[in-house]
């Protein structure tokens, strides 16, 4: 009667040992798999980011290192000459100013309009609500390239083809649908009870919007502002077609004409590209945390 028991114990011991061996093997294999994945991840990171590195590296290299048959992987010796050359090109500062005017006007006006519309869509059931939602989702898909012709002809008719106002109007329409849609999500996540409480305390509905909802969707406003900034700063074809005078163009048009008018002068071109891309990236990273906070707050299940 004892023997089977011992046998069982022995078997159990063997099983336990075997199992721990298997577990070790599995965790060892998993660790190896993990570092394999990490290596691939690192490789993907390098491949994706290399073009941006190459832009910055080229921008800081002296001319003879740029035009080298064997590439110099690091910008040593280091120079700022390319940046000086780029900035000294005609119309750089004019076009920076134009870009800032266009972006600023687009972001401010569109934020205000989008907040009002998002409020209506998120807080009211009204006839035509779903039609408006379909409009703002569908209209984001309208190819801007296709609208260039009628936009140009219309603006030409009223003499606004070479003015920033026309460009701002177009950008407003381009960014508004997305902004309304995004803000709608943020507003929908604020408990309507907060406004109701304020209204019981004697606030009017409009006051409740401004005093209760507006402060609470700060992160949403920031997120949509970034979106508007990036869209307006990066847009090329509308600005290229509508703005013909050099001093009235935006930075992307300036950058694109850099190549054609002067042939490939890679150092100054890469410096100019770095300068054009920098505000977008900086703005993006600067507000990243707020953006993330707002969006993760929104994702909490309610």
């Amino acid at each position: 009667m004892i023997a089977p028991g011992t046998a069982t114990r022995v078997e159990l011991g063997a099983v336990a040992r075997a199992r721990s061996r298997v577990v070790n093997q599995v965790s060892w294999r998993r660790r190896l798999g993990q570092s394999g994945y990490d290596a691939v991840g690192l490789a993907v990171f390098v491949v994706m980011l290399f073009p941006l590195y190459w832009m910055v590296a080229t921008a800081f290299k002296p001319g003879r290192d740029i035009l080298a048959l064997t590439p110099k992987w690091f910008p040593a010796p280091f120079t700022l000459q390319n940046f000086q050359d780029a900035v000294a090109r005609p119309f750089f500062f004019d076009d920076v100013r134009n870009s800032l005017v266009v972006v600023g006007a687009t972001v401010l006006i569109s934020l205000a309009l989008a907040f009002l519309a998002a409020m209506a869509v998120a807080r009211f059931g009204f006839r035509g609500r779903s039609a408006f939602v379909v409009l703002i989702i569908g209209v984001q898909m309208v190819p801007l390239n296709a609208l260039i012709i009628p936009l140009y002809l219309t603006l030409d008719r009223v003499g606004q083809t070479d003015s920033l106002a026309g460009v701002i109007a177009v950008y407003l329409a381009v960014v508004l649908p997305f902004m309304v849609w995004t803000l709608r999500g943020f507003i929908a996540n604020i408990p309507v009870e907060l406004e109701e409480a304020a209204m019981i305390d004697g606030c009017r509905r409009e006051e409740a919007f401004v005093r209760i909802v507006l402060p609470l969707i700060g992160p949403g406003l920031v997120a949509t502002a970034i979106f508007g900034f990036i869209q307006a700063w990066n847009e090329y074809i509308v600005a290229y077609v509508l703005l013909s005078t050099n001093s009235k163009q935006t930075l992307t048009v300036w950058l694109a004409s850099f190549t054609t008018n002067h042939g490939p002068q890679w150092g100054p071109l890469m410096a100019a590209a770095t300068l054009t891309g920098l505000p977008v990236v900086a703005f993006f990273l600067l507000i990243q945390r707020n953006l993330a906070g707002g969006l993760t707050a929104g994702s909490v299940k309610g």
Partner: protein, 330 residues
Amino acid sequence: MGTAVKADAESAAATPSLEPALARRRPRPSRRGPGRRTLPYTLIAPAAIVIFGVLAYPLGMLAWISFQHYGLKELIAHQGDWVGLQNYTTLLADPLFLRVVLVSVVFTLVNVGLTLLFSTLIALLMSKVSRVIRVLLASGLIFVWATPVIVAVDIWQWMFDYEFGVVNYLLTQMRVFGSLIHHNWFENTVQGFSVITVIVVWGAIPFVAITLYAALSQVPDDVLEAAEVDGANPWQVFWGVTAPMLKPIFLIVTSLSTIWDFQVFNQIYVLLNQRPSSNFFTIAIYSYRESFGVTQYGLGAAIAVVMVLVLIAVTYFYVRQTLQTVDLAT
């Protein structure tokens, strides 16, 4: 997992497509009170007017012009000549137009396919790598995503430069294709389009990969574990569990990518120094050339109308899917 990474991914996925899933509250019927009927209309009016005036009205005008002869003379007179379907019959008889449509369709299929393939792989990879690598990958993708298209085009133009381009150097070092120093990628149409595809796909991956990764991280772990316990291999888990759960988001990113890639303009036009040869015409470039290059605005409008019609078909699926996602979420 690290909140920072998750936050990164979710912030980057602030797309109209993902947003509905985050919103859970159904809008309540408005309270009684003065102006409760007109207030919502007052609120949407400014946005609706801008959107309608700058997008919907020009869209109608585009269709109108496509039935007119509208050249330089008509531009000065602000008045087109009605010619009925003549622009469209001209196009159908134009071998270049048929070629351009074919090129655009093939280009779109290849670019959307490659974008989705690489983005899915990167999204899956991001869910497997350790935390540090994930932060690195996510921030790298965000940098690429934030890069303006014109800047990206200039960078790749430099990297593919025939003489001092780093791509030709690296390919030569690989010793597979022989020496590619002084190789001009744009002499050959297929090779030229390959370069354009690299630029488009590189720029498109971050948005799609981060959106897919955000969706992927919402697939419950216990479902995946249950499939593994039942003996499914990773391949079966992906096709049997993950892919069906991500189907709505796949549909959305596929339609968005199709819409974007079918109207690619900047990458080709600026890359080829604003003088692309007709070999590199896609439908957007051809429409631009006809209208602003040779001032045939009527013909250009007809080409644009064809482009819009194709895109409306794709948009239909996108809008339907987005609305369904909203309905499920609210």
